[in-house]
């Protein structure tokens, strides 16, 4: 009995002392600012900053390895708060970005190469002859991006293509990473004109698999007043690409495009009827093309 008490007490005391000493000796100084920043961050752990989760980003900020404005979901508000904690000037605000679908080959527009009845997941469908659609480049339309979006900003539209709600999309890029076809891109929220096709085949082949394919005719390239759009790549592996730094969203290319591969995408939640011309401040403003009506 007495041995039992002594032994257990001794064991407890020894472990207690060892742990106590170890705690002092192996103490890792944690900067209190890390926790403060973690509390300010959105906490979605989306990884759009390029660090492993919000806590990873917070540590990198305190270590001085990360810019203050890397958190896209947090927008300006979070950037200001982090700057206040770090006692630094807030960096340049980045334009908010949203995910944009670079494909318009929805139901009835893209030709199907077979009837897909498998698991409801784009990654699975993509393993079977690239895609159920004859165009191996386009959106598969099974909504893997809808499931993966941490903010619930994507829903499937009537034409079985994902639609992004600009109010909810934070530009974190999780869907961009997840999409097996790489048809989602992060684009500045103010940009309205997009190449809604990703097919790099020759014009004839592309047109054969989809009504609204880019046929590489270069009409957009020739007509763009800013030189912002060009067909990039070799024959058989080319596609019209917009340089968003130069693009003023004037919409001329949209009117010229013979296949409607170029489109003006308005935010879903914006008024459907555009009474104002597209981007009135652009040097080559409304072309009265009537597209917006």
């Amino acid at each position: 009995m007495i041995y039992a008490i002594i032994c257990l007490a001794a064991l407890g005391a020894i472990f207690g002392i060892v742990l106590g000493i170890a705690d002092k000796k192996f103490k890792v100084e944690a900067d209190p600012r890390i926790e403060e920043i973690v509390n300010v961050l959105p906490g979605a752990n989306c990884g759009s900053c390029g660090f492993p989760g919000c806590s990873g980003y917070a540590e990198a900020i305190v270590a001085g390895n990360a810019p203050l404005n890397a958190c896209t979901p947090g927008k300006d508000e979070v950037r200001q708060k982090i700057a206040a904690i770090m006692g630094e000037e807030a960096g340049e605000a980045q334009e908010a970005k949203v995910a944009q679908l670079m494909c318009n080959g929805g139901k009835d527009r893209a030709v199907l190469q077979y009837e897909y009845e498998g698991v409801d997941d784009c990654h699975v469908a993509a393993t079977m002859f690239k895609s159920p659609k004859a165009c191996g480049y386009g959106c598969i339309g099974l909504g893997s991006c809808v499931k993966v979006c941490p903010f619930g900003a994507i829903k499937m539209g009537a034409d079985q293509l994902p639609e992004v709600d600009y109010n909810l999309c934070t530009g974190c890029g999780v869907c961009v990473e997840h999409c097996p076809q790489h048809v989602l891109k992060l684009v500045g929220v103010s940009k309205l004109v997009h190449v809604r096709c990703s097919n790099k085949e020759k014009g004839k082949d592309a047109k054969a698999v989809c009504e609204v394919a880019c046929i590489k005719c270069k009409l957009c390239e020739k007509n763009c007043p800013e030189g912002a759009i060009a067909v990039v790549g070799d024959a058989g592996n080319s596609i019209a690409v917009i340089d968003y730094d130069k693009c003023t969203s004037c919409g001329i290319c949209v009117t010229k495009c013979p296949t409607n591969a170029l489109e003006i995408i308005l935010p879903i939640n914006a008024a459907q009827k555009m009474e104002q011309p597209v981007n009135p401040n652009a040097p080559h403003a409304c072309q009265k093309c009537g597209l917006c009506q």
Binding site: Y3, L8, L11, V18, A22, K27, V28
Partner: protein, 194 residues
């Protein structure tokens, strides 16, 4: 002293025949809890192997030099829990200080092991089978490997189940439990190997 034959029997026996999870049903909580992703299953397996080996050795020392010497064997359970809990804490501190990368890789799994019954179970089995020091060391390590093996196999299957077409009522935990049971039956095939 070092009986190679016996050690090989212990290692093979612990990993396949008496697999800690699938044959002895110890450590089922982390087996179900941390098996959704292969990467975290590997992390957890590493952490458990590490702690199991250390805990086996230290509990053996406590048993032989303290409990048996003073004839207080009935304190085995509480003494071992004390040892394991402090050991996990201590190991966590050391790793945090000296190898932040390993600490990050193991993450929350390290403190979780404190309450893992596999650790206490193996420590008690070591004593029940009256293993020597070397055998205890190898038994602890092999049981860690057996836990890792079961966890990794299970995580691999569960990752595939994610994409499978499972009836709604069976999705998630039900199918996982059925899978675990089938794996356990499969491991019965090893019985009689030794």
């Amino acid at each position: 002293m070092l009986d190679l034959h016996e050690i090989i029997f212990i290692v093979i026996g612990a990993i396949f025949v008496n697999n800690i999870v699938l044959a002895q049903f110890l450590g089922c909580c982390p087996f179900l809890g941390v098996s959704k992703k292969l990467s975290s299953a590997i992390g957890m397996g590493m952490a458990v192997t590490f702690v199991l080996t250390l805990a086996s050795v230290i509990t053996w020392l406590v048993q032989v030099y303290l409990l048996e010497r003073f004839d207080i064997g009935y304190l085995q359970t509480i003494a071992f829990i004390l040892v394991i809990a402090s050991l996990v804490q201590f190991v966590e501190m050391v790793i945090k200080k000296h190898s932040p990368d390993l600490y990050k890789a193991l993450g929350v799994y390290l403190p979780l092991i404190t309450t893992n019954c596999a650790v206490l179970g193996v420590a008690i089995i070591n004593i029940q089978k009256s293993y020597g020091f070397i055998n205890t060391l190898f038994n602890g390590f092999a049981n860690g490997l057996s836990f890792t093996l079961a966890l990794i196999l299970f995580a691999g299957i569960r990752e595939r189940l994610e994409d499978a077409d499972i009836p709604k009522s069976m999705q998630g935990t039900p199918i996982a439990l059925i899978t675990a049971a089938l794996m356990s039956i499969a491991f019965l095939g090893f019985s009689g190997l030794i």
